[in-house]
Symmetry: C2
Subunit: 276 residues, 2 copies
């Protein structure tokens, strides 16, 4: 059970690190990235989780997210897990929207996925215990955010654990996976064709049922090619009535990391407001 | 002679574009990226050239440079050319530090390189004429910057054309290629083994000989693994005496784009000071 630091770069006076470890939950070696801000005197460090989208690894946000300046400023550590279990012994699919790189942040129940595809348990039990030990002066306070499939993940994990995460934010999240092509395909494969099992992993079902939800910020680009078919917000906003949800449309912005980079300052300020 | 817009993304209210065109100078199809800031009332747009390092394309800086916020703020267009001619009909080498991705921003005289490897002419004659037409309200004012091999390129192009570029900046530039392994290998291949031909493409020789040099800012990370062997500054600073050169060491920073992202605000502010 060793955790190995395999890369580190100084950035905005903090450190962008990459670690490898063996995950018991996923039964494979995993890599994750961790940004640690420069330790400022007498300040505790809060933790923000970033969950990436389909096909991504821990690298996409660390390299293209342009978040380090603001995480340094707000004394935030940011952890970037991978998007699925990985390796030659891990089940996979030839398509990019299923299998490795497309874990959907759930616990699979169907073969051949059930053995390794337990990203929910990994992200809520095993990885936090490890990450907490890597943050000097950790405040114990956490928020969660993500993009696309990772926005779905952030909402599902945050809504299932409202006492743990102070706030949730998402760029272009899959808000209602049970009803859209990406989600139907993944849920059928990982959870089976009985749709009753899907509701536990669908942000729209979860926010309708929960009594308490963390504050939520969602940013959606209007020029996002996936917006209408995969990312529609209507059902979610209808049942989210009464919860603290700020849904903003970004006119002319698309599904890329250029959008994330443009608005990451706003998202980290949102989280800091709830973490402090 | 058509120029095709193949990609565009809104970012920080501006546009990150990618174009393809046929270059007569290089005798192959080329791709370049161009950031255009949001047009502000009554403001002219200045142009900054970014030249990337070995193995890079136009994508590295556009995706990892985190420059768009500051370029938007200062009303700067930024053009990102590729690092060499490309294509199956273009000479190449099996090593990453020669051939495609490693053009060294010069005009080659030796076979098999002389036909296509004319990056200096491409960047100072053909591409500017094209780029000027793509910038609304262009001021006619230009500066140039780059990283590593691209820092060498920015210094060489800037020092050969001091009337054209208002300022030059570089991250971790190859300051004296005639004396270091990367440069010796490339210059021998592209220019031949007679070292007299090398001086015209070496920033240290050029700054020693020029009467007038644009203002220069150079940032070098002290944790850069290439620093001692490839990027040493001593000879350059010795002969640069009397020119406006600000050479700064960045303690703990390495050769990666994390360093560039951390200090790009300072570099663009430096250029804006000379462009306005």
């Amino acid at each position: 059970m060793t955790t190995i630091l395999i890369e580190t770069h100084k950035v905005f006076e903090g450190e962008q690190r990459k670690y490898r470890h063996y995950s018991e939950t996923l039964d494979c070696d995993m890599v994750f990235s961790l940004f640690l801000p420069k330790q400022m005197d007498n300040m505790l460090t809060d933790l923000v989780w970033w969950l990436s989208g389909l096909t991504c690894t821990d690298d996409n946000f660390s390299q293209k997210g342009a978040f380090q300046k603001y995480a340094s400023h707000h004394q935030l550590a940011v952890v970037m897990p991978d998007t699925s279990p990985r390796g030659t012994n891990v089940a996979d699919d030839e398509n990019w929207d299923l299998g490795q790189g497309a874990g959907f942040y759930l616990n699979a129940t169907q073969e051949p996925w059930a053995k390794n595809y337990r990203m929910y348990d990994y992200l809520t039990k095993e990885l936090p215990e490890l990450v907490y030990t890597l943050i000097p002066n950790f405040s114990g306070k956490e928020s969660i955010m993500g993009h696309s499939m990772g926005g779905h993940g952030a909402l599902v994990i945050g809504l299932k654990n409202p006492e743990r995460y102070r706030s949730i934010s998402a760029f272009a999240p899959i808000l209602n996976p049970s009803q859209v092509p990406w989600g139907k395909k993944a849920f059928t494969a990982y959870l089976g064709s009985d749709e009753k099992a899907w509701a536990a992993w669908d942000a729209t079902s979860l926010i309708a049922e929960t009594a308490i939800a963390p504050s939520i910020l969602i940013s959606q680009g209007t020029a996002d090619a996936f917006y209408e078919v995969q990312l529609n917000e209507e059902a979610f906003l209808q049942v989210a009535d009464g919860k603290k949800v700020n849904y903003e449309k970004l006119v002319g912005y698309d599904h890329s990391y250029f959008t994330i980079a443009s608005f990451i300052e706003e998202h980290l300020q949102f989280h800091k407001d709830y973490l402090k």
